[in-house]
């Protein structure tokens, strides 16, 4: 009976896309909270060798994948996700070459606010916070993550294509070409 209860609860956690409260579990299985907790303990023992786990979250229990399998899960689901937007790509590029750097550093290059883009990139796991700069205001420093390397198929940061330092300070002729390009874009927009 105990065993059967844990299996029913397993089914309930499985089909529910969100955490199920102990109260709901007890009501649905027509038992009480103690029985539910006992069944969940049984279940957790059984899930020790599983790729899944039972997590207690937001006032309930939920089945979830174990974090170590996230990359594989990502490979399956990522094709449905959007690729990096251009602002995101630009921002991650700047951080990649200038890390650790602050939001101000990024905006100095991009010339636009990069607040939202930074948040997205941290959510997607491509950038992370890397301490604070010992300067007035102690701004947050950002750096790339291993997932960043993963995303761009790099073994390490040293695999980044070299950027000619002399080219970084933009010279006139390059700017001119740039201007033409920017101009065209502006006109067509």
């Amino acid at each position: 009976m105990q065993d059967s209860l844990s299996q029913i609860i397993e089914c309930l956690l499985f089909v529910s896309g969100e955490p199920v409260s102990v109260k709901d579990l007890a009501r649905t299985t027509e038992t009480d909270a103690d029985a539910v907790y006992a069944a969940i303990r049984t279940l957790r023992d059984r899930y020790v060798h599983s790729g899944l786990q039972i997590v207690e979250i937001a006032g309930g229990f939920q089945l979830a994948t174990r974090p170590e399998y996230a990359p594989a899960v990502g490979r399956l689901l990522a094709p449905h996700a959007n690729r990096l937007s251009r602002p995101s790509l630009e921002t991650v590029t700047i951080v990649a070459y200038r890390q650790p750097c602050t939001q101000a550093d990024i905006e100095a290059v991009r010339g636009v606010s990069s607040d939202g883009v930074l948040k997205t990139l941290i959510e997607r796991g491509l950038l992370k916070e890397a301490g604070r700069k010992p300067s007035p205001g102690r701004p947050i420093l950002y750096a790339t993550t291993d997932d960043f390397l993963h995303y761009f198929g790099l073994a390490s940061l040293s695999d980044l294509p070299p950027l000619d330092e002399d080219e970084a300070p933009v010279d006139g002729s390059e700017m001119a070409t740039a201007l033409a390009a920017a101009g065209v874009e502006t006109e067509s927009a």
Binding site: I57, A70, R86, L89, G111, Y151, F152, E167, L179, A182
Partner: protein, 286 residues
């Protein structure tokens, strides 16, 4: 596949006592459905279809359905006519011809043949349908799960190698090239009052100062960090000045330096400056 008439067993309604005509209350899905029901209910031999009995029962059902005000579609009436036709043909004496020869012509020897074939065909699908009905029931005892939520509960790193390292470099180059033209929004921190008119004046002044040498477009750019708006304004200013003939722009070779030359007022075509005087005051695009 003409049905064999000879070897059929004889457990038809003529021998067995016919079951009382129970009328199903639900509407039949067409005449074939009704006929098949009658054949099964009466345990008739499909290969020696007792058309007279079938026809009578069919008509009785039709009458019952009519009494119960069930809508009887034209299909049912057509089938009734077909049944009566087959019945009457069976009553007629067989024409004095060799039945084998008729078969050669593709003419079915038995007027029931086509109906039997249709019933058999329809019956097959009904049977499989019943099997699928069981599958449906079993399958409905299983529950699945919707696709896992994306970002909230699971941290999903993006696809491996979706972009190459080259893409990073290209992006950097493009960024330098486009001078921050990636986004439309400009932070309010950068709120500045630059007018097109001011920019035009500045460009004109610097071009005039450069005289015959001309001034490089790159030198006209504001110092980094570049504000998109300033670049756009510069570009617009250049266009406007070219339009009114105050400057000429020259490029010696492909992708080479672009130089801006001042055109003295005496050499200009006289154009009215009014349109420009409105000079859009750009403050905050956000």
């Amino acid at each position: 596949m003409p049905p064999t008439l000879a070897a059929a067993p004889t457990n038809n309604v003529l021998n067995a006592a016919p079951p009382p005509p129970t009328v199903r209350l639900e509407a039949f899905e067409g005449p074939l459905d009704l006929l098949l029901h009658l054949v099964r209910q009466g345990q008739m031999d499909i290969f020696d279809l007792p058309i007279a009995a079938l026809c009578d029962q069919y008509m009785a059902h039709l009458a019952a359905m009519e009494e119960m005000n069930l809508a009887i579609a034209g299909d049912f009436v057509v089938m009734a006519a077909t049944l009566i036709e087959i019945k009457s043909r069976l009553l007629l004496p067989a024409p004095p011809k060799d039945p084998a020869a008729e078969d050669e012509d593709g003419e079915p020897a038995d007027p029931r043949a086509e109906l039997v074939e249709r019933l058999l065909e329809y019956g097959k699908y009904q049977n499989i349908g019943e099997m699928l009905r069981n599958c449906e029931g079993e399958r409905r005892q299983l529950f699945f799960r919707a696709q896992a939520e994306w970002s909230g509960d699971y941290r999903l790193p993006p696809k491996f190698g979706e972009l190459s390292a080259e893409d990073l470099l290209r992006t950097l180059e493009r960024m330098l090239a486009h001078v921050g033209a990636g986004e439309r929004s400009v932070t309010s921190v950068r709120r500045q009052k630059i007018t097109l008119r001011l920019k035009m004046r500045e460009v004109l002044l610097r071009a005039e100062r450069a005289d015959k040498e001309g001034v490089l477009v790159g030198e006209l750019l504001p110092p980094a960090p570049f504000a998109l708006l300033e670049v756009v304004l510069l570009f617009l200013a250049l266009l406007e000045l070219m339009r009114v003939g105050s400057i000429v722009v020259a490029q010696q070779d492909f992708c080479g330096d672009i130089r801006v030359f001042f055109v003295p007022e005496s050499e200009r075509a006289s154009l009215i400056d009014e349109e420009v005087s409105e000079g859009v005051v750009v403050t905050d695009a956000g």
